[in-house]
């Protein structure tokens, strides 16, 4: 129970112990996703070309290349996009839906999401945070307006 609580605390605080601050405005949606690194590694081994070309934007692919095509980074992008989809109650948005949004990593495992207004509404801003272990990578996203 205590360990479980610690894990949950980890979702909302950064390494320095500070609380993740979202920009002001009303919260319009929250999404969370968890990806198994082992499973993602198996998928990448099988579909590497298609996965990167059809699921990541150009700048995400450049970043992934800089990260030496680490499975962990691909899992981060995937989990963040899935978490974003879930903010709008849309767990499945098609293969091309993945490339229609862009994850912009920031410091301390935070990231923002660039997406067309049709996904999260005009004027809305989406922010999130990565979390996880060596075996699992997760992301949660909050949409504010």
């Amino acid at each position: 129970m205590v360990a479980h609580k610690r894990n949950l605390d980890g979702l909302f605080s950064d390494k320095a112990g500070g609380i993740l601050r979202f920009p002001g405005g009303r919260v319009r949606g929250i999404g969370i996703d968890l990806v198994s690194c082992r499973r993602m590694a198996a998928f990448l081994k099988r579909h590497r070309e298609k996965f990167s070309g059809r699921l990541l934007t150009k700048s995400e692919r450049v970043l992934w290349q800089r990260k030496k095509y680490a499975v962990e980074w691909f899992a981060k992008f995937f989990a963040a996009k899935e978490a974003f989809f879930k903010t709008g109650n849309n767990a499945w948005m098609g293969v091309d839906g993945f490339r229609a949004i862009e994850i912009l990593p920031m410091r301390n495992n935070h990231f923002s999401v660039r997406a067309a207004a049709r996904f999260n509404g005009r004027g809305a801003k989406s922010y999130g945070r990565f979390f996880g272990t060596q075996k699992w990578i997760g992301a949660f996203v909050v949409i504010c307006k």
């Binding site: 993602m40 099988r46 579909h47 298609k50 989809f85 109650n89 849309n90 499945w92 098609g94 839906g97």
Partner: protein
């Protein structure tokens, strides 16, 4: 390729993607409810089908996607009557009969069945010939 061959290849594809026995891949089986598929598996399934059947499956053609982003078709987490009509028109292989009684968007994926994939492929492959 005849219908039996298509079904057999779909069985093989889904068994490989989802880690289930071929015998469990029955026409009426729901990909999520019966075979345990998650969204990452839908992508895996699409890529495997493309490879195994040598076709390209455009986004949203096999599994509905873009319809779900349209405010006319989804309201408060539920698919509207217009949305149901759109699903029937754009995805004739998807049986939404029981779904229309309680059209919660989160339950839509439960309607994706093995039969739906087989019927989609039968038509796609017939056009290819």
């Amino acid at each position: 390729m005849n219908d039996k061959d298509i079904f057999s290849k779909v069985q093989e594809t889904l068994a490989g993607a989802l880690g289930v026995d071929r015998e469990d891949v029955k026409p009426e089986a729901s990909l999520t409810r019966d075979l345990g598929a998650e969204s990452i598996d839908f992508i895996d399934i699409i890529f495997r089908l493309e490879k195994n059947f040598d076709i390209k499956i455009p986004s949203g053609e096999l599994f509905p996607a873009n319809i779900l982003n349209d405010e006319r078709f989804v309201k408060d987490g539920r698919v509207t009557p217009e949305g149901i009509a759109e699903l029937k028109a754009k995805h004739p292989y998807l049986d939404v009969t029981s779904f229309s009684n309680d059209p919660q968007l989160t339950k839509l994926a439960e309607q994706f069945t093995v039969r739906m994939i087989v019927q989609y492929l039968q038509e796609r492959l017939a056009k290819k010939v």
